[in-house]
């Protein structure tokens, strides 16, 4: 596929993520911060985000596995995940965090478990799409490098 076609494909792919509400405008801000002096910025941020999100989701999982859940600990993790989601523009994941926040505030363990399921779902979807996005980005960079 030629460079222009790849770029269009990437643009359309990101656009579809906006339309589905998976991403919001904050992600555009991040894309705008990538330039020739920082050509891998988007990839770096996505990688940082995914590592962080997985760590937190695992911790939340662990916390909810205990008989007596430490809800204030849980609050702290949800806050972190919500913050990261907001910073990268992961809109649906951010909303899913609000659910967990609510259930945690209510000290509702069952509600928390359900909310966590949704979070895990949203995260997996997002990660798949990010992987596709990065694959496109890398193909573009490769083509651009070869053309120089």
């Amino acid at each position: 596929m030629d460079l222009a076609a790849l770029k269009t494909q990437l643009k359309n792919f990101v656009q579809s993520m906006f339309e589905e509400g998976v991403l919001d405008n904050q992600f555009s801000q991040i894309q705008a911060l990538q330039d020739s002096t920082n050509p891998n910025f988007v990839e770096e941020v996505i990688t940082l985000f995914c590592n962080d999100a997985e760590r937190i989701i695992n911790e939340i999982n662990r916390n909810l596995g205990y008989q007596n859940v430490d809800f204030s600990n849980l609050d702290s993790y949800v806050h972190q995940l919500k913050g990261s989601s907001s910073s990268i523009g992961a809109n649906r994941l951010k909303l899913a965090c609000a659910n967990l926040r609510q259930a945690s505030d209510e000290r509702n363990k069952e509600g928390c478990l359900q909310a966590l399921q949704l979070i895990t779902c949203e995260y997996c979807l997002l990660r798949r799409k990010f992987q596709a996005l990065l694959h496109l980005e890398r193909s573009i960079v490769e083509l651009e490098t070869n053309q120089k």
Binding site: L33, L48, S76
Partner: protein
Amino acid sequence: MGMAIDRDDTQFHVLAVDDSLIDRKLIERLLKTSSFQVTAVDSGSKALEFLGLNNNDADDDEEYEQRDSNTESVSSDEDQDHQDLGLGVNLIITDYCMPGMTGYDLLKKIKKSSSFKDIPVVIMSSENIPSRINRCLEDGAEEFFLKPVQLSDVNKLRPHLMKGRSKDIDSSHKTTSTRLISSGN
């Protein structure tokens, strides 16, 4: 009056404080895009350490300097060198919610420090809580940014930094003109 601001070629140095790795990366990129020099740390205590204030000193700063008049001039000289060498920090931007020392705690410590109280402090938070925002602004924060921070927010920083810089120039001009007058005789 009228002298060109010839110190403008020195970059402003911003100290960014945030426990979130992603947010640190973002704020660093935003600040560098706006031509600021950036140091990013992950906690309030690291920020104080970077400034050369340890946690205890920040609280008793004034008391400590008055205690021994011999050491007083030494420590203020060191602070001056710290600033002059360009390692000096021109602005601090900090997250509010951090484990251990919050951004608000950090703000208070900076404002209590005789060496650093004039450094502008900006607070960031993901939560829009009016009472929190008001408290920070009342206690000396120049601005309060809601996260995620945008480039347009970072553009608001420059006036606060220019204010500090022209204050330096004014005071150095005053010193110069005083000297000229007294040496004129």
